[in-house]
């Protein structure tokens, strides 16, 4: 049996999760899309071809959920292995690495409805079983999920329980014969609900112990509701699931009674990173649509691609997508580095894999928030570039705009994820897995000395220094907020979200910068320098604004004065010539009529 991980360049590091805030990694330590192995590239090419040749031609049918189209496509996807990437070989899977899965998700993300079908099946519909199933459960279901003979779905939300999934009212009672649980309740917003065969259903045993069950569609009392009428992802099936005295054999309890939350939350970590990569694919797709249109459309006798207002949009869409893509693969690279030598044959393999993913839960949430918002931004600007035509159903961007919106809601709303980012950082600090306290203490000494140490070096010394200071601003403000609110910081949601925003902006800009540095060291990437310029300045503006919010909320009088001075010092920058940088970025995108970085 082979390992799950293709050999990485030895130097890619697997630091502690969240350590990006306190460390200063060198470019060689991070994984970038330029480091894709030939196999990862080829997998991407296969998935791209599948999307162009099999999926794109049937989009109109897919959008109206024509019978059999979705199932047919998942079956075709299964023929080339797309749902099998992370499944162990023993159950007919491919056992490839996490980065390969991200590459597939990025490609599939070009069409949101299929991406949702695919993700609900191969991700949240299959992975709970991979990580928590018993040998018998895995043998029974996984090979059929891999071939798409069975389609999967994941049932967590309920009409009254969304972000607070543990407020579930669905009950499971052990029947008197001890052989079955009886499930009763209603699940809501089930992707693939209309056509899935196997549901991972969360319910409370005796109304208390949150647990997961594998429920087959054909069982008596299982009834999917009607298709919901959604704003976007029209091609994706979304229904409720009604459970009326469903007899679930005890063998179909997934994991342990009362440990359902472990399954629910662990599966979401990877799901969030995957959502990030699908959004990167979606963003690249709208960039291509927008660039093509900008070249064709003439106003005042010139293509609108000539105008600065349009070029600015394309450049910003591109720069942010570059940052998002960089942070997704940096994160998947760290997970893969941590899993180097991993084998499903080793005892406790599932736990090892989950631990490696959980280590980067903060980064996974960042990927989810940042990329879903980039896609929303890019789709919105793509509509704007199209003008009135962007508002018309004949143009793909109209659909992209509607489709993008859900990404900020599912897999944990962006609000919940922001709170999680701050919460998990603090938790890791209190568990001594991340030395935030030490870093904040050192920073305070440094600042008390009146001089901020500069990070510099590399091809982008100015931006390197900006990123270094943005991290310090984040640490300083997190420290201030923690001193003020202590463990109750999570209840101060606006402040907690502002800390998360600072971390997100910093991680994104740093990932892009490190990637550009790595590319530059390899003799590539003149234009990625412009992207770094644009991102660093946007990061500083965002970080400065959030720092002011936190200072105002957490300090007053002399302390407020002191923190606003500190924040001003840390987030100061000499403005770059952004229009010139954006103009060069846009020129590349317009020449190729696609995202080219």
């Amino acid at each position: 049996m082979s390992t799950i991980v293709a050999p990485l360049e030895a130097s890619v590091a697997a630091p502690s999760g969240g350590s990006f805030l306190i460390d200063d990694p060198s470019p060689e330590q991070i994984f970038t899309p330029e480091d894709f192995s030939e196999e990862q590239r080829r997998t991407g090419a296969t998935a791209d071809r599948f999307m162009s040749e099999e999926v794109a031609p049937v989009i109109p049918d897919y959008e109206r959920k024509a019978p059999g189209v979705a199932r047919g496509l998942v079956e075709k996807a299964a023929e080339i292995g797309l749902p099998a990437v992370l499944v162990p070989e023993q159950y007919d899977g491919l056992e490839m690495d996490v980065t390969t899965q991200m590459v597939v998700n990025e490609s599939v993300g070009r069409y949101a409805s299929f991406s949702t079908t695919y993700g609900a099946h191969a991700g949240i519909g299959t992975l709970p079983l991979v990580f928590f199933g018993t040998e018998e459960q895995k043998r029974k279901y996984l090979p059929k999920l891999v071939t798409a003979e069975l389609l999967g779905a994941y049932c967590l939300s309920e009409p009254q329980a969304g972000s607070d999934a543990l407020a579930s009212l669905t009950r499971a009672e052990l029947a008197p014969d001890g052989r079955h649980y009886l499930l009763n309740g209603q699940k809501m917003w089930i992707s693939n609900g209309g056509w899935a065969d196997l549901f991972t259903v969360f319910a409370k045993v005796d109304g208390e112990k949150f647990s997961a069950f594998l429920v087959e569609r054909s069982w008596e009392g299982v009834r999917p509701g009607a298709e919901e009428h959604k704003m976007g992802i029209h091609g994706s099936s979304t229904t409720a699931l009604y459970l009326d005295n469903v007899k679930v054999p005890v063998e179909n309890l997934l994991g342990e009674v009362g440990r359902g939350h472990v399954i629910a939350f662990n599966v979401l970590n990877l799901g969030r990173l995957k959502l990030g990569s699908s959004c990167a694919g979606g963003a690249k797709s709208v960039i291509a649509d927008a660039a093509r249109y900008a070249n064709q459309r003439k106003a005042f006798g010139r293509p609108i691609a000539d105008f600065g207002a349009i070029r600015q949009k394309l450049a910003d869409m591109t720069a942010k997508t570059f940052a998002g893509e960089s942070l997704v693969y940096r994160t998947s690279g760290m997970i893969d580095a941590r899993l180097e030598g991993f084998s499903w044959d080793a005892p406790g393999a599932a736990k090892t894999a989950l631990k490696a993913i959980e280590e980067y839960a903060v980064e996974c949430s960042i990927a989810k928030v940042y990329l879903s918002e980039i896609l929303d931004f890019a789709a919105d600007e793509a509509v704007q570039i199209h003008g009135g035509y962007g508002f018309h159903r004949d143009y793909a961007v109209e659909r992209s705009y509607r489709d993008s919106r859900i990404n900020r809601i599912f897999e944990g709303t962006n609000e919940i994820n922001r709170l999680l980012i701050t919460g998990m950082l603090l938790k890791r600090a209190s568990q001594e897995r991340l030395d935030l306290q030490g870093a904040i203490r050192n920073l305070m000494f440094e600042l008390a000395g009146g001089r901020v140490a500069r990070s510099s070096g590399g091809p982008f010394p100015v931006q390197r220094d900006m990123v270094g200071r943005a991290k310090k601003a984040t640490l300083a403000m997190a420290g201030l907020a923690y001193r003020k609110f202590g463990a109750r910081l999570e209840e101060q949601q606006e402040v907690a979200a502002a800390i998360a925003d600072m971390a997100i902006e910093t991680y994104a800009a740093e990932s892009a910068m490190l990637r550009a540095e790595k590319a530059s060291a390899a003799g590539r990437g003149e234009t990625t320098g412009d992207i770094v310029t644009v991102l660093a300045q946007a990061m500083m503006c965002a970080v400065g604004g959030r720092a002011a919010l936190i200072a105002g909320a957490c300090a007053e009088g002399g302390e407020l004065e002191q923190y606003s001075k500190m924040s001003a010092k840390l987030t100061r920058f000499t403005p770059a010539n952004l229009p010139a940088a954006r103009d060069r970025i846009a020129a590349r995108v317009l020449a190729a009529e696609k995202y080219v970085f």
């Binding site: 030939e38 080829r42 296969t46 023929e79 080339i80 990437v85 491919l94």
Partner: protein, 256 residues
């Protein structure tokens, strides 16, 4: 059936082309590389014949080191093993030079059928297969649309001009150049991509095989075509004009 499929790695069709400073070729560093499309159809035909008649498919290429990735792509699609004849000069070599290298590699082994694409997407000489057949002393057929094994030999359908076809029976071993679009090229599945890791790929240098690298043809100057506009008036009745227009679109503009 021992089938050798000859593959060339060429610049990808969506690459941005920039004429090199020496004006002999395009800038290499701008290019992404991919399998020459006509060769992909030859590979598919080879894989189908192997599935029908057994034997093995060997992917062969003469090119710089990067061409190994095109061979591995063939392995991912189902070829059993690969041979690379490596030399940087193959990137711009003429058809005779490439054919010498391919023939040297194939000639060392027992071969029943050698397949190439009709032509390459970069230079487009359309000569490599034919010259190779001469060097290997094999009968050949060009622009082949269908291949059927019969009575220890082959029956092939060739495309001629103006909608004409020719059916030819020929003995084995033989060499065929395959017309594009005759089959649906399969995916490199993820299983295939993973399996390719373990398949053998042998590299010979041109020197080891004693390939004569002397050029018999050189590019003197590469330049962009001048854009010209021409207007033609088609006279006659509507029906006649439509027929004439159709003719022109088909055979002059080759747009249909």
């Amino acid at each position: 059936m021992n089938i050798f499929v000859c593959l060339k790695q060429v610049g990808a069709r969506d690459s941005a082309l920039r004429i090199a400073v020496d004006r002999k070729w395009v800038e290499d560093e701008d290019l992404n590389f991919e399998m020459n499309e006509p060769d992909a159809f030859a590979l598919e035909e080879g894989l189908r014949l192997k599935e029908k008649h057994g034997g093995e498919v060997v992917a062969v290429s003469a090119g710089p080191a990067r061409a190994a990735s095109t061979i591995r792509e063939a392995l991912a699609k189902g070829a059993d093993r690969g041979i690379l004849i490596e030399d940087d000069r193959f990137a711009q070599a003429d058809a005779l030079c490439i054919a010498r290298a391919l023939a040297a590699a194939v000639g060392r082994e027992a071969h029943d059928l050698v397949l190439t694409g009709l032509q390459s997407d970069d230079f487009g000489f359309g000569q490599t297969g034919v010259i190779m057949a001469e060097l290997l002393n094999l009968p050949h057929a060009t622009i082949v649309m269908q291949v059927q094994a019969e009575d220890g030999g082959l029956r092939v359908k060739r495309e001629l001009e103006a909608g004409w076809f020719q059916n030819v029976s020929m003995p084995l071993p033989a060499l065929l150049t395959i017309q594009s679009g005759i089959n649906k090229v399969r995916y490199a599945t993820l299983m295939g991509i993973k399996r390719a890791r373990k398949k053998p790929l042998v590299t010979h240098t041109a020197g080891e095989l004693g390939i004569d690298m002397a050029a018999s043809q050189t590019v003197r100057r590469l330049y962009l075509p001048h854009k010209t506009k021409q207007t033609q008036f088609i006279t006659g009745s509507g029906k006649e004009a439509a027929a004439a227009l159709l003719e022109k679109l088909k055979f002059e503009a080759r747009a249909l």
